[in-house]
Symmetry: C2
Subunit: 412 residues, 2 copies
């Protein structure tokens, strides 16, 4: 069973908004055995939306649209869908009640524009949007299905999880195409060298298996996919063989973000971590506290963006900064050890580097990052050169910090 | 002049990677007067890529593709483009020299797969990819142009800025369609109420003007766009009228992120800021240190995820936590004042809340966030209810923190 996504909104096409919805939807569809064939982003324009609907229905049995359902004039998706499916708008009492309840405490919002939200296409099935005023609509197009959802990510996610996915699962009496993905993560080898290492393995793969290389921030994710007839057990054997082949570079045998893997290891052992960040400026802290349950292992951070903070809160002697510079082994070691001591954690990570665009020198060009890991067994430090672009440097530094921590936790 | 983007890669369609490239490219194209009509994401499959190329060329004069240019077998874009434009692969000496230089220090990377990277389509113009091994290719299709770039964001951005955009600018002898966007940001009013406030204004707009409402995290961005014949001065008058109409809710008259606006105001005045974060866990610090030049005003943060850190580094008495809970006005006030004092900054912001999914209670449900701003004139605190989803709560809390700071700095 194939699906397509049409994302509707001028904001996507002038670069004002990044489409994070489609990737999230794709993952959820895969989980219930639906393959996403294409994503198409179109303007809030009648002709453009209609052309995209025609094309999508020529290729896929399920079409999901996001966006264009607000109460303002620039949002036209509902009207265009009425035209496309040749059905009038009628008032829906349940939706009206729901919206009146939703804005009970904000009577100013119950205005004439909001009132247009309880007009729904007569031929559509209306599902409840628990958190917003835009109705979720399902249209039938022969044996094909269209589901229309809001574009606001939080609303879309709740709509998918509570309504659209259960609806699609019910419709799919049997899953025509089996989809499985397994991913592992390696580091310390170039993409092309990895491909040569796996040459014989790839040659021997049956046609329903597919191997993809996804390099990012110094890590390569290797994704093994099945499209078609293969048991989970068979796939598992292929995956285990792959793991054996890349064992020297393997850092994870799941697609989970590194901070989740590190967090799980720490939580299992009842151990804790803190950070002292200069160049990464809180990015590492934000990663470590991002996921539910992180308070079990993550205690906090001292973000010492200014040197005075390194001196006052992290006990870095000003003479040390004068002698070696803030981006130095000496300074990151003290930062890591101080934050570990003051926050009373088992481990800590410290970063100090030159993220750019300014601040580089001949000896220490932009991209130079010193990093230290303080552990019960001692403190380790390493210097990296992580590129020339500010965002690249700080992203890669977070990855290096987590890879280092993972190696310490797994004794690699 | 119209362009389309085709992003190529299975990883986009199984949700493993979010397409951040397209939004960035769209903005750059708009800046040089090129309108992006559609974004299409397709699989690494010959037939799919060819169909997407046919469709894109039926609508647009410029087609940009990203992805599928790696040295491994799953990447097929170059081969498919050779077939599409009916041209063979030939060795390019300049590309060979460039790649040999690029990997001078890593001879293991100069293997037989990397060697395929210096094979290029004979009929294509080859532009230099300074930071990677995949050649940038320009194909001519009658009067139409196709540019093929790598999908790795850092490589793509450098390719666009150094090669593709200057190339396209040179090709466009005159700009056929004038595109201008101006955006302002408002808060404290519902989207539908705002639309009613602007009803007469929208009715009076000429057809080349377009107004869009983009709500996110409690802020609505209002974007005024011109597609067609209007002078910058005329547009400016429309924009100023819009500003006057929404004056009561206005927080910014540019599309810049709030942390940039706050940072500029602070830097202009030579003032500084620090943060003490609990529920936002470093996200606010990461925002404030994200942009070049932030070290001029941002000193650092104490991320007190664990209560012990609130007590030891931020002087919050344990009796206060016992009496009022960590999510309380009393605690955030002390957090803000302590971090302002210890980091010796003019301002500070403190956050403490329940991001969820667990930790909520009847009195303090998930989404409850207390926030304090310490200033030379005193400390202000406020309580917010920011939703039910972890990411939503922490994103909105950062927005509220910055809006509060902006109001303090502009005396609103």
């Amino acid at each position: 069973m194939r699906a397509e996504i049409i994302t509707i909104g001028d904001e996507l096409l002038i670069g004002q908004v990044v489409d994070t919805n489609s990737a999230w939807i794709a993952e959820r569809l895969n989980e219930i055995g639906i393959e996403l064939y294409q994503i198409t982003s179109v303007h809030d324009q009648r002709e453009h939306i209609i052309a995209a609907l025609d094309e999508a229905f020529s290729r896929a049995g399920i079409v999901l649209t996001t966006g264009g359902l607000g109460p303002t004039n620039d949002d036209i998706t509902k009207r265009v869908l009425c035209e496309y499916f040749d059905t009038p708008l009628i008032e829906d009492k349940r939706v009206r009640t729901h919206i009146s309840d939703l804005y009970r405490d904000r009577p100013d919002v119950l205005n004439k524009l909001t009132a247009t939200q309880w007009l729904v296409p007569e031929s559509a099935e209306i599902l409840e949007n628990r958190v917003g005023s835009a109705p979720l609509m399902i249209f039938h197009h022969g044996k094909q299905i269209l589901a229309s959802m809001p574009g606001v990510p939080y609303e879309m996610k709740i709509a998918m999880e509570e309504q659209i996915l259960p609806y699609l699962s019910r419709q799919l009496s049997e899953i025509s195409n089996q989809i499985m993905h397994r991913t592992l993560q390696v580091t310390g080898i170039a993409e092309s060298s990895l491909a040569i290492l796996l040459e014989k393995y790839e040659d021997a793969m049956p046609s329903m298996l597919h191997l993809a290389y996804l390099p990012k921030d110094g890590i390569i994710r290797l994704r093994l996919s099945v499209y078609g007839d293969m048991t989970a057990e068979q796939m598992n054997r292929w995956f285990e063989d792959l793991k054996t082949l890349v064992a020297d570079y393997l850092i994870a045998d799941t697609d989970e973000p590194l901070e989740v893997i590190v967090g799980k290891l720490l939580a299992e052992r009842g151990q804790t971590i803190s950070t002292a960040e200069s160049c990464t400026g809180g990015k590492l802290a934000a990663l470590l506290s991002k996921h539910p349950g992180s308070s079990a292992f993550y205690f906090g951070s001292v973000i010492s963006y200014d040197n005075s903070v390194k001196e006052h809160l992290l006990d870095v002697p000003s003479e040390m900064i004068k002698a070696h510079g803030v981006v130095s082994e000496e300074v990151v070691r003290v930062m890591a050890e101080s934050v570990r001591k003051h926050l009373n954690t088992d481990f800590s990570i410290a970063t100090s580097g030159i993220a750019g665009p300014s601040g580089g020198s001949k000896e220490k060009p932009v991209g130079t990052v010193w990093m230290a890991w303080a552990t019960p067994e001692g403190t380790f430090a390493e210097c990296f050169h992580l590129g020339k672009l500010r965002e690249q440097v700080t992203d890669r530094a977070c990855t290096k910090a987590l890879v280092g921590m993972l190696k310490i936790l797994t004794n690699k």
